[in-house]
Point group: C2
Chain length 227, copies 2
DNA sequence: CTGTTTATGTACCCACGGGTTAATTTGTCA
DNA sequence: TGACAAATTAACCCGTGGGTACATAAACAG
């Protein structure tokens, strides 16, 4: 019933190199695409395997099972984003400029990290179960809060910021529109049209949200972009 | 291999009422729960059928296939939310109070509509493909924009609001933190703790975001909650 | 009361896809 | 140079779950 005439059972690839790291990286990159595109249950292991330069067996060899692969992907995008945040240096800037910079770069970072956004959405659909299991992620998230705290402290000390300015609340706020802007693009567009996603409108939104936050935090700040 | 001793092959329910509307409603309610909980690919038709008071056959009879059921669920939660928005009457309030009311009630509405939030998240994962196919949804979304436009117009006419105040941008903004607050609760908590989701912190966030928007829109407004 | 349409229930099919088995090659170290 | 571990391949297994076939009861028209 088998035994194809040509090359009996030894059509097996007869030559290959050992390169565990490259194989792992390759799997992880493809899996990131696929999980971001289709979600945890929507992504297909066979399809992921097909798109890699290796075989399905290797996925299980290195990552155990589908959930293990998904966790690795999740940790990967989280640490990538946080690493990019670490590059941002605001310690030298005066408080108002520093806060402005933090808001604008968060907005931009999110806009340019669609995989991250989608995977976080997916993880929220799963109630954060896999993120909570990870031990590396909680540690990663200090740096952005530390930066905001440092800026708030300086701003208050200099009598520029209102007393209520709170790092965690600010992060929640800044993340909210930066994230929503990307995460809900599809349904927002379907409901209200695509106008606000044009390049010029996006700049305006970024300027206005930044101004809005500064007006809330900085005493006597005039939100000029709203005129 | 079958033929259970007790009631041979006629264990079939021998008496039932025809009630198409109730059956459809029942299926839709359960399906809403299940799709919201597990997503489109994650939800299980057998499981949905089991939880209804009818059979899997009826799901296919009324909704065609899994995607048809999902679309019906999506349209259901959208129209429910928009209907609740329609109940909100701000035409009688003076502009500043009207805007305040719109922000606060959007915040609350989202906080109390977890199914809606989760289904919109899921729909965004699917790039809005099913929402775009629906012909009822686009029409639904006018009312909230109309309300904001009316308030903005009055505010500007009375010299209270800045010229830049734009209904669509405001809706985007108000939705963003109202939505994010619910949608990203799981990952935000996993990363930064649950403190901001306490009842008291949520009130503060609502007050501050409202104040923040008013300070951006209303000329000379003092965001007191930030002190 | 009979024929037809609508609504419902039961049992089944089968492909898709997550996961595994077993063999085979590559590299390494006595 | 030969044994042993690590890396890799191809082929297979089988449960899950979306979807269907078929029979039949309710409702209704004439």
């Amino acid at each position: 019933m088998n035994g194809s005439a040509d090359s009996p059972a030894n059509s097996r690839k007869t030559s290959w190199k050992k390169d565990p790291e490259a194989v792992k990286e390759n799997i992880l990159a493809i899996a990131t695409e696929e999980f971001a595109a289709h979600g945890l249950s929507g992504a297909n292991i066979n399809e992921i395997a097909r798109k890699t330069s290796t075989s399905k067996r290797m996925i299980y060899y290195y990552f155990g099972d589908k959930e293990g692969l998904y966790c690795a992907v999740l940790e990967g995008v989280y640490s990538a984003l946080r690493r990019s945040e670490d590059l941002l240096d605001v310690a030298g800037l005066e408080p108002v400029q520093a806060l402005r910079r933090l808001v604008e770069s968060t907005f931009d970072t999110h806009a340019n990290a669609p995989h991250f956004i989608r995977l976080v959405m997916i993880e929220n659909i799963h109630n954060g179960d896999y993120l909570r299991k990870s031990d590396i992620v909680p540690k990663l998230n200090r740096s952005i809060i530390d930066k905001l705290e440092e800026v708030c402290a300086r701003g208050k000390a200099m009598g520029l910021f209102r007393d209520g300015a709170d790092a965690l609340q600010l992060h929640w706020l800044i993340s909210s529109f930066s994230f929503y802007n990307v995460s809900n693009k599809a349904t927002f567009s379907a409901s209200f049209g695509t106008s606000i996603y044009s390049k010029s409108q996006q700049s305006i939104l970024k300027a206005r949200t930044t101004d809005m936050i500064l007006a809330a935090v900085v005493i006597g700040y005039e939100p000029k972009s709203w005129n």
